[in-house]
């Protein structure tokens, strides 16, 4: 094993990891917002709207992320012809749209875990459907699904490696460059893997702390 390349190339890995984090953060935040919207669509009283939401989720869950990234990479510039959309933005959009479907599924299970009585109590006090949903149901649902959302976050960090194929200069893309420049097959990948591991491990620790905090706020 030869890791002497690190002296010359460590900054490649750092800047790559930085982009990876940006991608994952955008994917989770934007994905959560879209995921809530998607969940509301899927709980609409209008059949067509429900159907659109369901089809979207089934499509995302049933096709490879790689294919989705290509579709958006090629499709988005067609939609916004004349605008120069950076690859990083395309990658972030693709990851967000993908995460939204999975997050929507998670939120749905979180909402279903909140007892029916909560909605009934809220409605019986004169709150409308929307107020009851946003004030009473969703805050409880989010607490329920925090562990699952954390896993989604970790998943997004790893998934972001796939957008290297459209030239987004995240960690995996940078690793490929290092491999080319140094003619080393294995070692740069090991370094990158360690980088991913550090990111995901740190995150899961932070999430563990947040979860414990939220739990204690239940009993005061």
């Amino acid at each position: 094993m030869n890791f002497s390349f690190l002296g010359d190339y460590y900054q490649f890995f750092l800047t790559g990891a930085y982009i990876t984090i940006i991608l994952a953060v955008i994917a989770v935040i934007l994905g959560s917002i879209l995921g809530v919207g998607l969940t509301l669509l899927r709980r609409s009283s209008i059949y067509i709207i429900r159907l659109i939401g369901d089809i979207y989720v089934e499509f995302i869950r049933g096709t490879p992320l790689l294919a989705q990234i290509y579709i958006i990479y090629i499709g988005v510039p067609l939609l916004f012809a004349g605008y120069d959309i950076p690859d990083l933005a395309v990658g972030a959009i693709a990851l967000s749209l993908n995460a939204a479907a999975y997050i929507s599924e998670t939120i749905r299970s979180g909402i279903e875990a909140v007892s029916r009585g909560q909605m009934e109590a809220a409605r019986s006090l004169g709150m409308n459907q929307r107020q009851a949903m946003f004030d009473i149901i969703l805050p409880q649902a989010f607490k329920n699904i925090l562990p699952a959302l954390g896993n989604q976050f970790i998943g997004s960090i790893k998934d972001s490696s796939i957008v290297s194929i459209i030239g987004v200069a995240e960690l995996m893309y940078k690793t490929t460059i290092v491999r080319g420049n140094t003619a080393l097959g294995l070692e740069p990948i090991l370094v990158a893997s360690l980088g991913y591991l550090v990111m995901t491990f740190t995150l899961s620790r932070i999430l563990g702390i947040v979860e414990r905090r939220l739990k204690t706020s239940d009993r005061r």
Binding site: S115, G117, Q118, E120, A121, A122, R123, S124, L125, G126, M127, N128, Q131, D135, I136, P139, Q140, K143, S217, D218, R219, R220
Partner: protein
């Protein structure tokens, strides 16, 4: 105040309510009793449209609330409801539980809502719990908070759906005491319960429901001392 006309409710093929006609007058305490599965809870839940009647009309202050054009949220503001399982909001403190709907639905200012919460908590004897979360309260305390929460909307009528059925026996009394006070103040109440003592003492009128119909309707005295319908006699012989 509430007039129910030929109320029917079916779930698929099973008919739970099979034609209920009843009027509830202002200031009256109507106690609904009957065996489990008789439809008494469904009847109560139809009154504020938590269950949608399959057929029939419900009038609140002469307004038909089963019509499609009715804003159901406005109607529910006038009807407080207390549930068997309390259904307090676990992520909110006692104060927030009480203040939330008046602020959100009626646009009450925070200061005013807080004062209202203090006043209501005094009434149910739980002022010291104002900043607690529901999970740290006993069942009886939670139910009293739930009553205060419903009262915060200043309803014209209060619906109680087996308010003491999920409580440990020693906590039943404190909840019934709060309900008795309410009745004394002249609140219009419809109470579904298995507490025969409460029915006898506080009720102005008893409705006995079985198999989706009101089989007997009478004053507590008449009802308990001279039941007429065979089903009522049978039921009372089992529960008394």
């Amino acid at each position: 105040m509430i007039d129910v006309k030929d109320l029917h409710k079916s779930y698929g093929k099973s008919e739970v309510l099979r034609g209920i006609d009843v009027s509830i007058h202002k200031g009256e305490v109507v106690v609904v009793i009957g065996p489990s599965g008789s439809g008494k809870s469904t009847f109560l839940r139809c009154l504020n449209l938590l269950e949608k009647p399959t057929n029939g009309d419900i009038y609140l202050d002469k307004q038909n609330i089963t019509e499609k054009t009715i804003n159901i949220d406005k109607v529910r503001e006038k009807m407080g409801m207390v549930f068997q399982q309390f259904n307090l909001f676990p992520h909110k403190t006692v104060c927030q539980n009480i203040c939330h709907a008046p602020m959100r639905v009626k646009g009450m200012r925070q200061q005013e809502a807080k004062e209202l919460a203090v006043e209501l908590l005094k009434k149910v004897g739980l002022l010291e719990k104002i900043d607690m979360y529901p999970s740290s309260l006993s069942g009886g305390q939670q139910q009293r908070i739930a009553i205060a929460r419903a009262l915060a909307m200043k309803p014209e009528v209060m619906l109680f759906d087996e308010p003491t059925s999920a409580l440990d026996p020693e906590m039943v009394g404190e909840v019934l005491a709060v309900m008795k006070d309410l009745a004394k103040e002249g609140m219009t109440m419809v109470v579904v319960t298995h507490e025969m003592g409460f029915a006898k003492e506080v009720g102005d009128r008893i409705l006995f429901i079985d198999q989706g119909k009101i089989l007997e309707e009478n004053s507590p005295k008449e009802f308990f001392e001279q039941p007429k319908h065979p089903r009522t006699i049978d039921f009372l012989s089992k529960v008394l």
